[in-house]
């Protein structure tokens, strides 16, 4: 019967997914030592190499042999009414393990254990075989920490505090560890609660929380009132005298800044106005710079709407109330820091302005495309 030319078991599985089945559980260290010992014994018998599976199988058999000898010896000790095993229990255990193959004197029921055939065979083996030490020095395992029990009254040389307490029980710890406990004071209340009461009476407990809330509110107002760096730059440039880069007017103001006529149409005026001359002759203006005022106007409308929202907050001082509790971790609870007003709701929302922005964007993009397609016209401007 053949395997049909298929691949073997280990080759069929994916690499890295094959796991060896553990027989003893978390006993890998002991089994590794057993494997080395078995390999040494087999090498002493004359083997030069081993199959991995054969070595594992033999080491497993050896482990089970030791376990069965121990179980049998323990069982014989229990039958004799003892908990600790002696040499005769071990010999009986070895006889039980060798009963399958047989040993000298096994037929005699009343044979003496001291002159057992198993012992004689072991004696012959010890005399004939050369001792081969284990390859590596190994520590005693598993490592178990010895628990040091508390000394009893007798060991300490003290007398128990009461007659009902026997002297062999472990002694009490020092009285300092349990008589004066800082957790409970005379009134039976927690010291933390007493502290809160004292702070509430003196009024110290409220100030830090108040200061914290005020700082938070003032920070909010400072952030809203702070000037945008782009606006500051625009103002600075406008002060220098460039009308094209000046800050745009608000929506309410209908006045439009006067722009000088193009240099192509009026050559005389081009000489009088140095700004236009620079733009036309020295450097051709870029498309982004051309539409900078329109973009700034869009930004300013957004900023104005935000400023309107925060104006009334700066005018009114928010009321802050605190409720100090003993058991609650939160000392303060702020109520109504930012009051809701009807005026606040009347301000133009963000999404209502999107239609206007879309139209402006479309126009700006159209002009940009035209200017990029024929840059000669830009230079002529």
């Amino acid at each position: 019967m053949s395997n049909g030319g298929g691949k073997t078991g280990r080759q069929l599985e994916q690499p890295g997914t094959w796991r060896r089945r553990k027989v003893g559980g978390g006993d890998d260290y002991a089994r590794a030592i057993a494997k080395i010992a078995v390999a040494q014994v087999c090498e002493g018998e004359g083997f030069q190499a081993f199959q991995q599976s054969a070595l594992e199988a033999l080491s497993d058999v050896v482990v089970r042999y030791i376990l069965n000898v121990g179980k049998s010896a323990h069982c014989h000790a229990n039958l004799s009414g003892r908990t600790e095993c002696n040499a005769f229990d071990v010999i009986q255990g070895l006889e039980d393990m060798g009963s399958v193959q047989g040993f000298a004197g096994a037929a005699d029921v009343d044979h003496c254990l001291e002159s057992s055939g198993v012992i004689r065979e072991i004696v012959h083996f010890v005399n004939d075989a050369e001792p081969v030490m284990f390859a590596h020095p190994i520590p005693r395992f598993p490592v178990v920490k010895e628990r040091v029990p508390n000394p009893s009254f007798l060991q300490k040389g003290e007398e128990p505090p009461g007659e009902h307490i026997p002297a062999w029980l472990p002694a009490f710890p020092d009285p300092q560890t349990y008589s004066q406990s800082p957790a409970v004071n005379g009134r039976g209340t927690e010291p933390r609660a007493v502290k809160f009461d004292q702070e509430r009476e003196s009024g110290k407990g409220e100030w830090p929380a108040l200061n914290l809330q005020q700082q938070m509110v003032s920070n909010m107002f400072e952030k809203s009132a702070s000037i945008d760096p782009a606006d500051a730059k625009a103002k600075r440039v406008a002060a220098e005298g460039n009308p094209f880069l000046a800050a745009p007017l608000k929506i309410e103001d209908k006045e439009v800044a006067s722009v000088p006529p193009p240099a192509k149409l009026f050559n005389d005026e081009a000489l009088d106005n140095p700004v236009v001359e620079n733009l036309v002759e020295n450097e051709p203006i870029s498309a982004l710079e051309t539409f900078a005022p329109a973009i700034e106007a869009m930004k300013s409308t957004i900023c104005d709407s935000k400023e309107d929202q925060t104006k009334f907050c700066a005018n009114e001082k928010p009321t802050v109330r605190f409720k100090i509790g003993i058991k609650n971790k939160l000392l303060g609870k702020s109520i109504g820091l930012i009051p809701q007003k009807e005026e606040h709701e009347k301000t133009l929302p963000w999404f209502a302005m999107e239609d206007e922005k879309d139209d402006r964007k479309r126009r700006a993009e159209k002009i940009l495309r035209e200017s990029l397609e024929n840059p000669d016209q830009l230079v002529q401007l």
Binding site: E45, Q51, S53, A54, L55, V62, N86, I119
Partner: protein, 136 residues
């Protein structure tokens, strides 16, 4: 029930022989370490502070392994001897004694251990060899 004086003398001799043997075990160092034997004996419920008994179990276990390995070696040599001449010439180059599952299962069967192994298990026959001498 009167005991014969000869039998009592014989028992005394056996007793002294056993105690002498247990004492001599302290000088003999078995290959199977005492720590390993103590670990598994404690696992089985065996309680004894006497190190000589642990050493006795270690020696008995080593004897068992040596007997099994010796039987497996005989099976291995017998199997190599029964190979035909044309194949024997090829094996003269690499005449190594390898402990295989086949020989081990035959040897353990005599000791009441029925060892089952997979028929087509791909096991490396060069396990335990020096890496320089491997031919794979």
């Amino acid at each position: 029930m009167n005991q014969n004086p000869q039998s009592s003398e014989g028992r005394n001799d056996d007793d002294s022989a056993l105690s002498d043997f247990l004492a001599s075990l302290m000088d003999y160092t078995p290959t199977i370490p005492d720590e390993l034997v103590e670990h598994y004996l404690a696992k089985s419920g065996f309680q004894c502070p006497d190190v000589r008994l642990t050493r006795l179990v270690a020696v008995a276990t080593q004897k068992f392994v040596a007997e099994v390995a010796g039987d497996a070696l005989q099976h291995c040599k017998a199997r190599q001897a029964t190979i035909p001449k044309d194949k024997r010439d090829k094996q003269q180059k690499d005449k190594r004694l390898v402990l295989t599952m086949e020989d081990l299962s035959k040897a353990l069967r005599e000791y009441g251990v029925n060892l089952k192994h997979q028929e087509y298990f791909a096991d490396s026959p060069s396990t335990g060899m020096d890496p320089a001498t491997r031919e794979e």
